[in-house]
């Protein structure tokens, strides 16, 4: 146990840097976190515009707006950018900002590697987008199935740029994962045992392990694809002994853990927000932790459920393992509902987004279990039913989590509160628009509309549902406007937030808003997973005799802390 003095030296010479250079060269996890989030939202808007192109074209039958190739590029870029450059990095950004604070650490374990993993992201994103400048972006769908991606069928430079960009973004993720795991294992405050870590930290830990083990496999696959396209390789070319199905195996061996990489941190955000605004501890903390680990483990044994119709996989095994994931996910639903039950609910904007997450993710989860069943999957494979399912999980789940995190932690990051009425306007337009956009897709898929088509017959009976979906997509776009106004207005003239505007449970609320570069002047004692609650409400016996507490179980401490 070493003691480190963090007080800035009073006599040190003032170190002056321009504002721009300061942000370009920063290794402070908080500034890097904000860079991640701002970068993520820029890509969100870009990919959102592409989604509007897709939805506008599909609003009515016929090709009005774009040709097929532009359409293919639009949905490919939309999927790739949303997943790899918006959801994952933005949640990483919140983790970057919040995890060291929640652990009571002064920074991440490797601050300079942290900066590197951020700066690879815009570089990768620009490379992926730059396909538009070189004769057209990648147009094979975000899954990039062989042999569509071969140099014979996709000769354009866009696909090569897509490969290189994704490899860079993947490398950024891997370095970030190394950093998160090391930080979580080496930088915890005194008293913070693993089972006293905030639930968000737990979900980030499991996510980082998934990134660490799944993403390199995608990198290997991308390299194989690049060799096939550029050096005459034949990994995926059956005419000389290769195997196109291999790409699907490699992609989904990464791709399914990736689904949990996208959703687990959002679950963590929701599990931070719900207890604070229910005024209760999270119901079943340990069950939640084990469920998270269980999802992480199972995620490596379900990849082939994306490949049921290839005929190349053992259906009963992958169907069974996929259905098994419903169990830890169901446990989490009980955790959340149990937390809400008889809580003193405060319907703030982050709470609304968290409740939106629970309800929308539940729908996505149910359609997911349906798809785990091969007879249903054979019927709806590559239809809009799958599109509906994945958007209920990614958008209804993860993106609601991103906004919950944004509204919840904005006061900590900026020292200003966001405007609540404007936040609620954002939520309701967003929520209604989301359901209008994606719920009709279930019916479209069941009635046979294939995904990734630019046009459909007016006689197919799909017109009105598609039109509704397009209206919903534009509602989502409109909903972002009050959010942006809110952010800008609050930054300029928001109500000062104070250190702890929500009466939070975890250590990030124990420092100033925004925190100083070294994060904490002093750390409160950590005797449970809710050290702040303990500090503010646990006066008397508990606060006076911290040593005495070590002898009691965590639950005992929690009970007495809660009762005080």
């Amino acid at each position: 146990m070493a003691t480190t003095t963090l007080e800035p030296q009073a006599g040190a010479p003032a170190y002056r840097r321009s504002w721009v250079l300061d942000w370009l060269t920063t290794v402070d996890h908080k500034k890097i976190g904000i860079l991640y989030i701002v970068n993520g939202f820029l890509f969100f808007f870009a990919a959102g515009i592409l989604a509007l192109v897709v939805r506008s074209e599909l609003a009515v039958p016929g090709l009005q707006l774009v040709d097929q190739d532009t359409f293919n590029q639009a949905f490919t870029m939309h999927g790739t950018i949303m997943l790899f450059l918006f959801i994952i990095p933005t949640l990483s950004g919140f983790a970057n900002y919040i995890v060291p604070l929640q652990l009571g650490a002064p920074d991440m374990a490797f601050p300079r590697i942290n900066a590197l993993s951020f700066w690879l992201l815009p570089l990768g994103g620009i490379l992926i987008f730059s396909g538009y400048l070189f004769g057209g972006a990648a147009a094979e769908g975000w899954t990039g199935y062989a042999p569509l991606t071969s140099d014979r069928f996709s000769p354009g430079t866009g696909t090569d740029l897509w490969i290189i960009g994704l490899a860079l973004v993947g490398t950024a993720s891997i370095l970030g994962a190394v950093n998160f795991i090391t930080t979580i294992f080496k930088m915890r405050a005194p008293g913070m045992t693993l089972f006293r870590m905030p639930i968000f930290v737990w979900t980030v830990l499991v996510t980082a392990v998934l990134i660490l083990l799944a993403t390199p496999v995608l990198t290997a696959g991308l390299i194989a694809l690049f060799i096939d396209r550029n050096y005459g390789g034949s990994f995926f070319d059956p005419s000389v002994g290769g195997n196109p199905i291999l790409w699907q195996h490699i992609f989904w061996f990464f791709g399914h853990p990736e689904v949990y990489i996208v959703i687990l941190p959002a679950m963590g955000v929701v599990s931070e927000v719900l207890p604070v605004f229910s005024r209760k501890p999270l119901f079943g903390y340990k069950a939640f932790v084990f469920a998270t680990i269980g999802i992480g483990l199972l995620s490596f044994s379900v990849w082939a459920h994306h490949m049921f119709t290839t005929g190349a996989v053992f259906l009963p095994f992958f169907s069974f393992m996929t259905a098994l994931i419903a169990i830890p996910t169901g446990i989490k639903m009980f955790n959340w509902l149990g937390t809400l039950y008889r809580g003193k609910l405060m319907l703030t904007t982050p709470m609304l987004f968290a409740l939106g997450f629970i309800s929308m993710f539940l729908i996505g989860g149910i359609s997911g279990v349906m798809l785990a069943s091969p007879p249903i999957d054979f019927h709806v494979q590559d239809t809009y039913f799958v599109v509906a399912h994945l958007h209920y999980v990614f958008f209804g789940g993860s993106v609601f989590g991103v906004f919950a995190a944004a509204y919840y932690w904005f006061p900590k990051m900026t020292g200003r509160r966001l405007n609540e009425p404007l936040g609620k306007v954002h939520f309701w337009i967003h929520f209604i628009g989301f359901n209008l956009a994606f719920f009709p897709m279930h019916q479209l898929g069941l009635s046979g509309m294939p995904r990734r088509v630019a046009d459909y017959s007016p006689d197919a009976g799909w017109t009105y549902l598609n039109l509704a979906s397009t209206v919903g997509a534009f509602m989502i776009a409109v909903s972002v406007i009050p959010f942006l106004i809110n952010v800008v207005a609050s930054l300029i003239n928001g109500e000062p937030a104070g250190d702890d505007p929500w009466e939070g449970n975890t250590l990030e609320w124990a420092t100033t808003s925004p925190p100083p570069p070294y994060n904490f002047d002093r750390l409160p004692p950590v005797h449970s997973e809710r050290p702040l609650f303990f500090l503010t409400h646990g006066h008397g016996h508990v606060a006076e005799r911290p040593d005495d507490l070590e002898e009691h179980s965590e639950d005992d401490v929690e009970r007495r802390g809660g009762a005080a």
């Binding site: 070493a2 480190t4 994962a177 083990l213 124990a510 002093r522 750390l523």
Partner: protein, 204 residues
Amino acid sequence: MTAGTTEIRPSGEPHLVETHQTGMPTVMVGMLLFIASEVMFFGGLFATYFNARASVAPEPWEPPPGGELDMALAAVLTAILISSSFTMQFGVWAIRRGDAGKLKMWTGITLALGVLFLAGQLYDYSQLGFGIADGVFGTVFYTLTGFHGAHVFGGAVGLTIILARAMQGQFSGRNHIAVEAVSIYWHFVDVVWIAVFSTIYLLR
């Protein structure tokens, strides 16, 4: 503003944060995690190798016509790389005793063996008589051995940095975490080569 927040930052008290410094050093944790990701990367490449073998069956698994693997040269290269792991470890043991002179010597020898391996591999490539575009055998052969070679190159860059820092007297018996981390990476690259060699040359 709650009562608790004022309580935890009483003005005038020294600003102290205690940190844990027990267990494995942070740098080693980071390096081992990075190696775990590298294991999965090579796992992906090995998967392509075995998938190709399974796809080619029942045709025999052999180099394209006109080419043949040079077993003898590969065995020599294997011996070179395995010995370099030993010399690396001698260097680590030396600096643990505080012997910076021996560290310089062993790191230099390790680096030379690594460079010799790379040169031997390039010579092998020039003699094989088939290329990466010659069927799936050529593709997986050059990808596996090539990406292993790239990792040897990365390790050699690390060794060069270690050597340069050792020359400046930056390491001591107490302070040599970079040597430990690079040595672990070097052993990992060695183990990967044993797997590559066994898979390509022995498992015919």
